[in-house]
Amino acid sequence: MTTDPPTTATRLDLPSYQRPAGVHPPLDTPAYRSTLLRAPKRRPALLPQGLTEVTGPLLGAERVTAADADLTGGHGAAPLGERIILTGRVLDSDGRPVPDTLLEIWQANAAGRYNHRVDDHDAPLDPNFDGAGRCLTDSQGRYRFVTIKPGAYPWRNHLNAWRPAHIHFSVFGRAFTQRLVTQMYFPGDPLFAQDPIFNSVPDPRARQAMICRFDLSVTEPDWALGFQWDIVLRGRGATVFEHPEDHR
């Protein structure tokens, strides 16, 4: 591959990102009833990956303090529930770490109740738990949160519907194309089989990628259980041109 000198280039050498197939759940998933009036009906149009798409907000350092990664702090006492350490890396699918990227998480308390005005589940709020945290990945793409294990909770999707315990994760990555919001689940949850959101992901291997694993080496004696979970974003294509006819 040759690179044109910048003075003569009218073309821009930009990275391109893989368009994932079979990874994400179809928007049209009728078993999850809220999709019925919200999932767009028409096929999406192909958007070429230009500068707006291969760049993205590289922000967060000014928005985050070390205390934000500890969801058990900041109040008069510790929250109720099982204290856990949750750590892992943000990578792209080529295995490259994604450093300095903003992670935002939110979750229910140990009783399965969110600190949100819309949540009317008959379970107690915890005055010592807000349920939101954030951090930046380090230079190796690593993150680490301290929190409590969230409880399962009922919802009205179908008769006797319960969400498996989960933590919501939002990740920016380094490009608009890599933006991801997902949910992390806990190993062995008996509620997986009846949950249409977890099962909206068609590929069983992809579903497993949403489940963290218990890790004794992360666990701290006499203090907290440790769990590992890596988040894998879209990787870059090699030298891929958007249009087959677009040769130099």
Partner: protein, 200 residues
């Protein structure tokens, strides 16, 4: 830039899941709507509603925008042209607004400059938009174009791929009676006027 590993491992990507109804708990920023600092000269407000297939407001959505500076540059290592001066004067490029109970969002920004595609063709000023909501298992992506850029819009290589009768869903409109600094852009997830969404 770091070189890829010698043997390209293809790791299993993490699937998307819905933000659920309580997204505001984790994703609300007090300064979220401000792509430029509050009170900036020349700022425009882009406001609208997110609507479902019944035409009802979506009160649990999040709208995020990403755009070039007024000179068309990005403060990002993958923009080979480098960042223009706006980026050192409080321009963030990124906006975020959770919808209110009436489904309304708003972003306060400035109009971006035109942005070239890799092949050199020029795109009209635009914002890339991500919409997240309860009921959306993955974000949907759209674009906002500007009503006072008709010539640039007519020549835009992305708008040109969209059926003429749907192109209008991507162009903001002046808000009647609201002055020159306010544009309206409604996002319709379904229905006869469903917004054009993109596979990015």
């Amino acid at each position: 830039m770091t070189a890829p590993p010698a043997k390209l491992a293809s790791l299993q990507q993490t699937p998307s899941q819905t933000v659920g109804p309580y997204l505001a708990l984790g994703l609300s920023w007090p300064d979220g709507p401000f792509v430029v600092p509050e009170g900036s000269a020349g700022a425009i407000t882009i406001a609208g509603r997110v609507l479902d297939g019944a035409g009802d407001p979506v009160p649990d959505a999040l709208v995020e925008t990403w755009q070039a500076a007024p000179d068309g540059t990005f403060a990002h290592p993958d923009d080979p042209r480098g960042a223009g001066p706006a980026w050192s004067h409080g321009f963030r490029g990124f906006g975020r607004s959770a919808t209110d109970p009436a489904g309304r969002y708003r972003i306060v920004t400035v109009k971006p400059g035109p942005v070239p595609l890799p092949d050199g063709r020029m795109q009209a000023p635009h914002l890339d938009v991500s919409v997240f909501a309860r009921g959306l298992l993955e974000r949907v992506v759209t674009r906002i174009y500007f009503p006072d850029e008709q010539a640039a819009n007519d020549g835009d290589p992305v708008l040109g791929t969209i059926d003429a009768d749907r192109r209008g869903t991507l162009i903001a409109s002046p808000e009647p009676g609201a002055g020159t600094g306010v544009l309206r852009f409604d996002i319709r997830l379904q229905g006869s006027r469903e917004t054009v969404f993109f596979d990015v």
